[in-house]
Amino acid sequence: MKTIDEFKTYFDAQMYPDLLVLDARRKKVLTRSTWVVLITLGLLALLIAIYHTIGMSAAAETSITIYVIVAVLILIVAGVSLGSWARDKTFYSDFKAQVIERIVNFISPDLVYEPKNFVGSDSFERSRIFLKSVDRYKGDDMVRGKIDKTQIWFSEVKAEYKTTTTDSKGNRKTSWHTIFKGMFFIADFNKHFQTSTVVLPNRLGKGFLADFFNKMNLARKEKHVRLEDPDFNKHFVVYGEDQVEARYVLSTSLMKRITDFRERHGNPLYVSFVNSFLYVAINYKRDLFEPSYFKKLTNFLLVKGFYEDIYLAISIVEELNLNNRIWTKQ
């Protein structure tokens, strides 16, 4: 895999010239938007000033209406100019093509990037990581392709469920709750297996009570699997349909690799093994792969951040040694 130094060289030589152009467009949008906001505020202030000096003398009822109409007109003109004159319609898609797609292609030319596509909700539910049924599901920034022998897919996804409450007056209120937000990754696993094994973050820690509640787990058909690696158990709790197959999938070396991966990147990590596929869900609070008008695109540190987010997902293949195809599955 590529090092960060190689990426810096690539950034300087291949990406920087185009990013200069893209960043100029970003600045233009920012400057124009600032002008619109300043002029609008100025005009509104002027209007209020006029109202206070001469407006009062006229017949109060009608003049207020006129002032309100003028204020609304100013706001409409401001809104329209923000949406047209101060807007760059292709900035967003050009950012995706020139930054995210380039990074993906740099990491591996065998990968395809589809900005509007995402890992489907059927795959999300098939993973058996989150059992809550999904009411709203969206995502973007899909990357798919083959890393050596391993087929992978991943994208940003957000899954939510809703609750509806009715208050004493009979008003219905719907609220949305996040089930998962972050990166969802699927890979063709290097071993065959039929049952499901789920590795969840161990939120309860160690000790008798933690063990008791981890073991209980009423919601799942999978039973608690007690594994022998104490470092692994500190971070994770495992449920599997088959005690032997769970251990076949989670070999001692894979447990070590998952623990290392978790310790290195720090975010809560969910892993599952279903029907010879590996599913990995990595929680993120922030949005992934999105540009900001307030951040300089030519800044290497910013682009490096995008690079590291993508690299993290792709590196799962190597970190978990998925290209090690020494079993019958090719």
Binding site: K191, H192, V225, R226, L227, E228, Q243, V244, E245, A246, R247, Y248, S251, T252, R325, I326, W327, T328
Partner: protein, 187 residues
Amino acid sequence: MEGNYLVLILVGVIALFGIIGYNRLVGLRNAADKSFASIDAMAKKRYDLIPNLVATVSKYMEHERGTLTEITEMRARAMSGNISDNEKVDLENKINKAMGGIMVAVENYPDLKANQNFLQLQGSLNEIEEQLSAARRAYNAAVTDYNNACQMFPSNVFAMVFNFKTKPLFEISEVERQNVDVKKLFG
């Protein structure tokens, strides 16, 4: 009269705990036995591969003929059924060692290493090896649960009363230990 009731309730409660404790021990013991059976099943699966391996390899390997016949004989003995558990473990260890030797010897035969049939067999063997190790780990986990119940209070009381004995853990075999003996490698 009241005293009698108290005694009755006490006896009832003790009997209830006894039943729950007994059933739990039986459940844990059965889980351990079941996972022992799965080790057996995996071992048998591996025995099934041996004739194939021998057939493929013997065409190429001139110097290892002796080892190959030995493996075939050991397999036949292990499969025959009328041997004790200890002998079985012993035979399995010997087969392990011989198979390991063959896999190392393969390095000297480039033709064999490129043989599709052999590569597939090697994949299957690796797979079964991994399954076997998974089955042993599952057995050890089940036995640890069972042994804990036999030795920890209060279930140890029922284990003593109903004569539940702890079971031995599956230890890493002598052969496997030798494989990772670094001192010998560099000594």
